[in-house]
């Protein structure tokens, strides 16, 4: 029970600290889950993102479910997700009920323009950390570069990129294994 409560409030903290989409959440996840609590490694986090990007739903929820499930099974997955969405439920309900003009306020607009600039750098920093643990050799650099270029400059679906990268990984490992024998 104590561990479930810990999952709930950890993910509530992550939820309330996320400003933006799935990528913006990455720096907070690294801090709270990998560095502070050791509940997952950088590599596992990368795996969860890979799966989260090509399965249905919000990446934040996919990642929360994965980590919760790893810690405490099905109950852990559900509790973590509930923790993740809890701050949104409270904050958005209050805004929708009492602060209809919230997004039009000058102060809010200014604050968020500042926050977005900061989030860029936090994401950059987070990507560098993942890069160090996930891009370990030449094929890795090629796959990273291709995935990046395809995603930025074309409309090719992320699902295709992920499937192709998985297949490439399988083939490369097989060929390396074959070379050893």
């Amino acid at each position: 029970m104590k561990e479930l409560w810990e999952l709930f409030y950890t993910f509530a903290i992550i939820g309330v600290s996320t400003f933006g989409g799935g990528a913006a959440m990455l720096p907070i996840l690294q801090r709270e889950i990998v560095e502070k609590r050791g509940w997952a490694t950088q590599d596992e986090l990368t795996d969860y993102y890979a799966i989260g990007q090509c399965t249905p739903g919000i990446i934040a929820v996919n990642t929360a479910t994965f980590i919760g499930h790893k810690r405490k099974g099905v109950a852990g997955g559900i509790v973590s997700t509930f923790g993740m969405v809890f701050p949104s439920l409270v904050i958005i309900t209050v805004i929708a009920a009492f602060l209809r003009g919230f997004a039009d306020s000058e102060t809010v607009k200014n604050a968020f323009a500042g926050i977005r600039a900061c989030v860029c750098i936090l994401i950059l920093n987070a990507v560098v950390k993942l890069w160090k643990s996930a891009v370990v050799d030449k094929p890795g650099i090629v796959i990273f570069t291709l995935a990046f270029i395809i995603s930025v400059f074309t409309d090719i679906s992320v699902i295709f990129v992920v499937l192709a990268a998985g297949l490439a990984g399988y083939v490369i490992k097989r060929m390396k294994g074959g070379a050893k024998k």
């Binding site: 939820g15 949104s88 968020f112």
Partner: protein, 189 residues
């Protein structure tokens, strides 16, 4: 029964929107067109609020839409509807992975990881485009493309993170600082 309908509609969004919160937006516009719960212009306001509050954007939008339709129970039901497909699918995948983790699966992940980092980096570029550049006036005036105030702040934050690396400050410290700077120097105007 409006709550049941709300659950069903957001369950569908959660099931078909692949790739995160932003992927839910077209589905929500579709919903606005099909069901008279909210108009497309109300939805635009909801997106603005969802982007300017803490929490994953997809969740914020489901909560806001649900609240607009049916108050607090609506907010809860829409959000639960949105996350239910992911929770089920991910738990199944996690169980399968735990059971069938072998060298073949590891080889697949060997290829997936660099791609995953590449995709996150690409998402970061999208955030940078929106936050640091102003592409609304076309590309004729080269210098007008850059949003100087946020760019200077971003460079400052980058330098501060390098200098304070040892202290391992929480990301929220930088976020709070940037919000204050944004307000003082009127970043949005």
């Amino acid at each position: 029964m409006i709550l049941l309908r709300l659950f069903y509609e957001f369950f569908k969004v959660g099931l078909f929107a692949i790739g995160g919160g932003m992927a839910t937006i077209p589905f929500l516009y579709d919903l606005a067109g099909r069901v008279s719960w909210f108009t497309a212009s109300e939805l635009t306001d909801m997106i603005a609020v969802s982007e300017s509050t803490p929490g994953p954007i997809g969740i914020n939008m489901a909560t806001y839409c649900g609240f607009t339709v049916a108050g607090i129970p609506g907010a809860i039901i829409a959000t639960v509807g949105l996350v239910t497909p992911s929770v089920i699918i991910i738990i199944v995948i996690a169980k399968l992975l735990a059971k069938f983790r072998n060298s073949a699966v590891d080889s697949v992940f060997y290829g997936l990881r660099p791609a995953s980092v590449g995709l996150i980096a690409a998402a970061g570029v999208e955030v940078m485009k929106v936050s640091l550049l102003d592409l609304t006036n076309g590309l004729d005036d080269f210098w007008a493309i850059f949003n100087w105030k946020p760019i200077i702040l971003a460079v400052f934050i980058f330098a501060a993170m390098k200098l304070l690396e040892k202290h391992k400050l929480h990301p929220l410290v930088y976020i709070a600082f940037s919000a204050v700077i944004g307000v003082i120097f009127k970043f949005a105007s």
